[in-house]
Symmetry: C2
DNA sequence: TAGAGTAAATGAATCGATTCAATAGAAATC
DNA sequence: GATTTCTATTGAATCGATTCATTTACTCTA
């Protein structure tokens, strides 16, 4: 059946140690032997058994990536970045989808431990990092993705979410909006909390009123559902800021089907600037984050930590968001 | 550092064999011993090393999923289905992104072999299945995803792409369109080839003229690029059928920015019916495929094959596509 | 009470690659 | 020609779990 290193050794009339050297330290093997062994390898179609390989060395060349929602284009873009950076260093990526559930997240973390991944990139479903310490105890590096490490005891790559919240409200305020609906996810998600902080800060400074509508999940169905709550507000806001683009697209669809004009009656601004934002019914103004770069930076930090081991010092990388101006926001009528 | 089975055995004052039995055949262990060992396990925070475990047994509980484009919502939806079905059976999924490149695909297949996955779900980047035979030789099950197995020597789950192509053209023909642009990807991708076949068949029957515009990749940038070729056609078609929704959205954006009215001047129909189709600038008429179910069905077939081993008989499951009618298509003026 | 039968626990062999101390053989040095 | 140095190769020990033939300790039966 599957050829093993032993079979290769036999066919090439060398010892198993030499075959191993051919694979891992070709420079110490004489050219003739090298060639003979390589010939045997291709002849048998030998591929080293990753399990056995890393059982001994204790290290695999795989990392885990745990995101809250693979269906969210923001995270697929991040994943592309991670994958490209990892594959440049010859690492494979386990992509896991926690669905914003701590239970699923836990399950995947266990699976990743069992798979002996070298490191984990994660956007945790909640703000408690204790669970991640278990990984560190096992010698598995952890880098936070799209989330800042509060006590700086690990690497993190994030975007300034407070600033993002501010930018959105400042933009709407500059267009003359005085009452703004703020459709946000659970406070337990740090991004949501931070964006909310920025919203509050800017609202205070620009003197606008914020009406918060809370949704349990950040997808477009929830956005559509939020519109019900929006329409029930006594003093109808003239603008809506959504904590991500999926919510915003859901909001937009629901408003349009209610016959409400965008941006004439209500301005909408999203967050993430996903690839579909420009293609939306009304091209969506959004807060843009460098998703791909975020992924690349996170993967590089993680792999650096994996390979530098002890002498590694943790870094916090923080990107800045910016406004992607389109047609879904306009001056208040 | 990390506790091993040996450490657990020592702490619980039993042999390694007994600990292994606790994990895998708890019924043969006496209740007292069971409890003692389990206490030791939790005390040490022991998680079995997946490598070592499956090194001996020869089988891992992981499968690989290779898709041409994770950024395409159709495939993320499929991935969700696969993941849910796999996790129900306690399998973990390696998600890989071939980017429609056979080179990347090859790289990932090698990584999956090295990871000793039990099976692979794949939407191959080309129509040559030889590469996959290598997996079969290694005892790794393979199920084709969104692709029919021509010689029926493996399981496959697909959607009738020929019929999908027909439905689109029949729909446009029924609206009175006589000249239709067909924006298609490379003929080497079977989906593209099959949809094209359906297009040709229906065109012939309904007596409409098809102008094929070929693009190298199936994303929205390529859709925008295709509009250039479209506008250069001598006899301008009144409708455009795109081989997937990403292309269609790109086409739509480019046409709108040229000031062309949709569907008044040009009707557009896409393929896949991704979640964003209803939220598009003009809600997109599309050919709908049961993506989630496709993923579930494929994973179940694959896992069945993995566990039934020799007595497994291959199945070809084929779903039917259907028209998702929205506002981007209308009667020809 | 010897002998058979059963349940529980044992521990050495195994999977496939890596590692590294040991060795053989050739080349360089004196 | 003897000694040292260097290079290429060897193969046994190892990683951590599983497997299974074997042992141990009881219980039951005649």
């Amino acid at each position: 059946m599957t050829a093993s290193l032993r079979d290769v050794a036999q066919l090439a009339h060398v010892s198993v140690g030499t075959v191993s050297n051919v694979l891992n330290r070709p420079s110490v093997v004489s050219p003739e032997t090298l060639e003979r062994v390589q010939k045997a390898i291709t002849e048998l179609g030998f591929v080293p058994n990753g399990f056995a390989r890393h059982l001994r060395s204790g290290f695999s060349r795989t990392i885990g990536l745990v995101v809250p929602d693979v269906a969210n284009p923001f995270f697929t873009e991040v994943a592309r970045g991670v994958e490209d950076a990892a594959s440049r260093r010859d690492y494979a990526v386990f992509l896991c989808n926690s669905d914003e559930s701590t239970t699923k997240e836990e399950k995947y973390l266990n699976a990743l431990v069992a798979q002996q991944v070298r490191g984990v990139l994660i956007t945790p479903a909640d703000s408690k990092p204790q669970r991640l310490d278990i990984l560190l105890d096992r010698g598995i590096a952890v880098t936070l993705l799209d989330r800042e490490s509060k006590n700086r005891n690990r690497c993190s790559v994030s975007v300034d979410d407070i600033r993002g919240g501010e930018i959105a409200i400042e933009h709407l305020a500059s267009l003359g909006h005085k009452v703004i609906a703020w459709v946000n996810g659970p406070e337990s998600i740090p991004q949501c909390a931070d964006r909310g902080l920025g919203v509050a800060r800017a609202a205070n400074e620009k003197n606008v009123t914020i009406k918060t509508i809370r949704v349990p999940l950040m997808n477009s169905d929830q956005g559509a559902a939020a519109v019900k709550a929006f329409l029930a507000l006594e003093e109808l806001p003239t603008a809506i800021f959504c904590a991500n683009d999926l919510l915003a697209l859901g909001v937009m669809r629901a408003l349009l089907s209610e016959g409400i004009k965008i941006p004439d009656q209500v301005s909408i601004i999203g967050y993430d600037d996903i690839a579909f934002a420009p293609s939306a019914a009304v091209p969506l103004t959004s807060i843009s984050q460098p998703a791909y770069q975020l992924g690349v930076a996170a993967a590089e930090l993680l792999l650096a930590e994996c390979e530098e081991a002890a002498m590694h010092s943790h870094q916090q990388v923080r990107f800045q968001p910016r406004l992607a101006l389109r047609q879904s926001t306009s001056a208040r009528n």
